[in-house]
Subunit: 372 residues, 2 copies
């Protein structure tokens, strides 16, 4: 692990005393666990006494006391109440830097401006971390490790306060990225909010489909619609709070969709075939730009191995890959409906494909396919 969670907290050298976390759900409690692991005094608050008690019991922080003087307040409440809570915290703690971890940044800032809040001490931020399930029980100190954490500069931001929030991000193992609130909101509209809508609407089309049709679903459509399982309440709030940038991307997507639709409707029209090919080719170029190993798939080759669906089979497979000195760069397991085995698709560097295939076959594994 590259995590140096035993080092003293950077944030403690920049602000005095306690860190106060308002909202003891998944993100707030996870920040609490991570800071406490570094010896920071963490005070928790939550509108729900039950959620607060749970978070304290799980060790995310302590209950507030009358003489608490927080140097940093982290607001981790739902989008609907974010501006109210930030305004209240700025008023209650006149010496503290106040940040929040909400997934939309411009709308709360505008709302605070409308209300005349003192924004010189407020720095919006957004850790790109989360989990399918929320709540204090799901909280973990390390959900931020290796993730981007956007810290929003705007006209009123002081460099010292920006440094406090970046220190918080670094303490939690995240990578701070400075952006304006507008840049942030446009970015998440594109890479998070619109993909959510698209996946949900596509999956919504399955509701009335015949069972038989859905039996033909393969891994492609499963991947495309996986995030359609997300929580409706939270997403309604997020999409509502970032409506303008989301609508902007949706409009362009609707134009793209109707262009492909028009081309397919008139297959013999000039340029019709080319319009469809260009759309697919543009998608090739776009997906290539995504960072991370999944986005750089083409650097790796796939080896697909058949594995029985019993305990220990994957252990044996990966143990033997270790013996063969083959590093698994990525892995995807696929099960055939009703079959007693699955396919393990292993990504390895091109130079290791031959070694992996020959070595595994010599040990009795069935190789379903390789991309060579």
């Amino acid at each position: 692990m590259s995590d140096d969670s035993s080092a003293p907290a950077r944030v403690a050298s920049r602000v005095q005393g306690t860190v106060r976390i308002v909202g003891a759900g998944l993100l707030g409690s996870s920040v609490g666990h991570a800071l406490r692991a570094r010896g920071v005094d963490v005070v928790l608050a939550d509108a729900s006494p039950a959620q607060l008690r749970l978070a304290v019991d799980y060790g995310a922080g302590r209950l507030p006391a009358d003489d608490d003087r927080p140097g940093l307040v982290v607001v981790a409440v739902p989008p609907d109440v974010i501006a109210d809570v930030i305004q209240q915290e700025l008023a209650d703690h006149p010496d503290a830097v106040v940040t929040d971890v909400a997934s939309v940044k411009l709308e709360p800032l505008r709302e605070l401006r409308r209300r005349g809040a003192d924004l010189t001490r407020y720095i919006g931020s957004h850790p790109l971390a989360g989990r399918e399930r929320g709540g204090a029980i799901s909280a973990r100190a390390d959900i931020f490790v290796g993730r981007p954490w956007v810290v929003c500069r705007d006209g009123e931001t002081s460099a010292a306060d920006l440094a406090v929030v970046e220190a918080l991000a670094l303490d939690l193992g995240a990578t701070p990225i400075e952006m304006s609130p507008e840049e942030h909101d446009r970015a998440v509209a594109l890479v998070s909010h619109v993909p959510q809508i698209v996946a949900s609407l596509l999956a919504g089309r399955f509701v009335e489909a015949p069972d038989e049709s859905l039996r033909l679903a393969g891994q492609g459509v499963r991947d495309t619609t996986r995030i359609a399982a997300s929580a409706p309440e939270l997403w309604t709030q997020i999409l509502g709070a970032n409506a303008a940038p989301v609508v902007d991307v949706l409009d362009r997507l609707a134009d793209d969709l109707s262009a492909v639709s028009a081309a397919l409707r008139e297959p013999d029209a000039a340029g019709s075939r080319r319009a469809v090919a260009d759309a697919i080719r543009r998608g090739n170029d776009g997906v290539d730009r995504l960072p991370g190993k999944h986005g750089q798939n083409r650097r790796f080759e796939s080896v697909v191995v058949m594995v029985d669906d019993t305990p220990g089979q994957l252990g044996r497979l990966f143990g033997e890959l270790g013996e063969l000195d083959v590093n698994v760069e990525d892995l995807r397991l696929e099960h055939s409906p009703g079959a007693q085995f699955g396919l393990a698709e292993i990504s390895v560097v091109p130079g290791a494909v031959r070694r992996a295939v020959d070595g595994l076959q010599a040990r009795g594994w069935k190789i379903a396919s390789t991309n060579d």
Copy 2:
């Protein structure tokens, strides 16, 4: 393995003599390998002498001879030329049952009817199998194992001929599913062709996005756009051949999209918030209907383990899960960009979560999170 590839071929008991495969690419060559493994005499043909030579060298079948009398012809050529080749094969081999493996079924059938071809011996079929890369070199006998294989009945289909193609599917380890050509084409429009367009158009929106925005991309958008890496030439042909059913789904999707867009544009209008929530909720219901382990995620709990990015780590992890008698139902590896470790998300039955978490922690693993 449940594969009984050593048993005699079912197809050999239903048709006399040789099986002729036209088109020695990925699917055709894979059918060849699988039938030869069962002792069937396979003859290959391909418009490209180089591709044909390669497929023969790799063992997918033999070159044609003057006295070949195929009982079954499998046409595995690109969508653009499928009707031409089927018509030719029906004429050249008046005693053979002719099938094809193209991913669109109605358009070739209509074209053959227009030309007055004798369709009593033609049965369209479609194995839902494939790989990211094509060609004879990528062919494998077992790419069909456990996959659905649609066999199309229509007014002219004889039961005996239908049984021949179903025997072929069973011989290759696939699960035959009977559908009309119309049902098939509507189903693949919904679960394959439209998801491809949606993923491509969404990824296409990344082409002009600032680098900084794309740094915020997480696993969700990577999954949603993974299939955007597909080949433009093949997909242009597929989409063109199934235009009407695809346009039908695209139109409904465009309506859904503009409803969400309108609701976000007028956040204070009556029912606006509810329209957004309903779209996300409908997506929940739709994705739940997909079969297979991925579609039934909710039956499993996730355990997320941090693993170093070095050979042998996954081997050790899976070996120890085997010792703990924990069966891994599904697995997803995620790498943080630039980090020296990854997160392995393991799906297990609910009753095994505690055993997995406690056992792994006792052995020194860091558990990033569980969905409990």
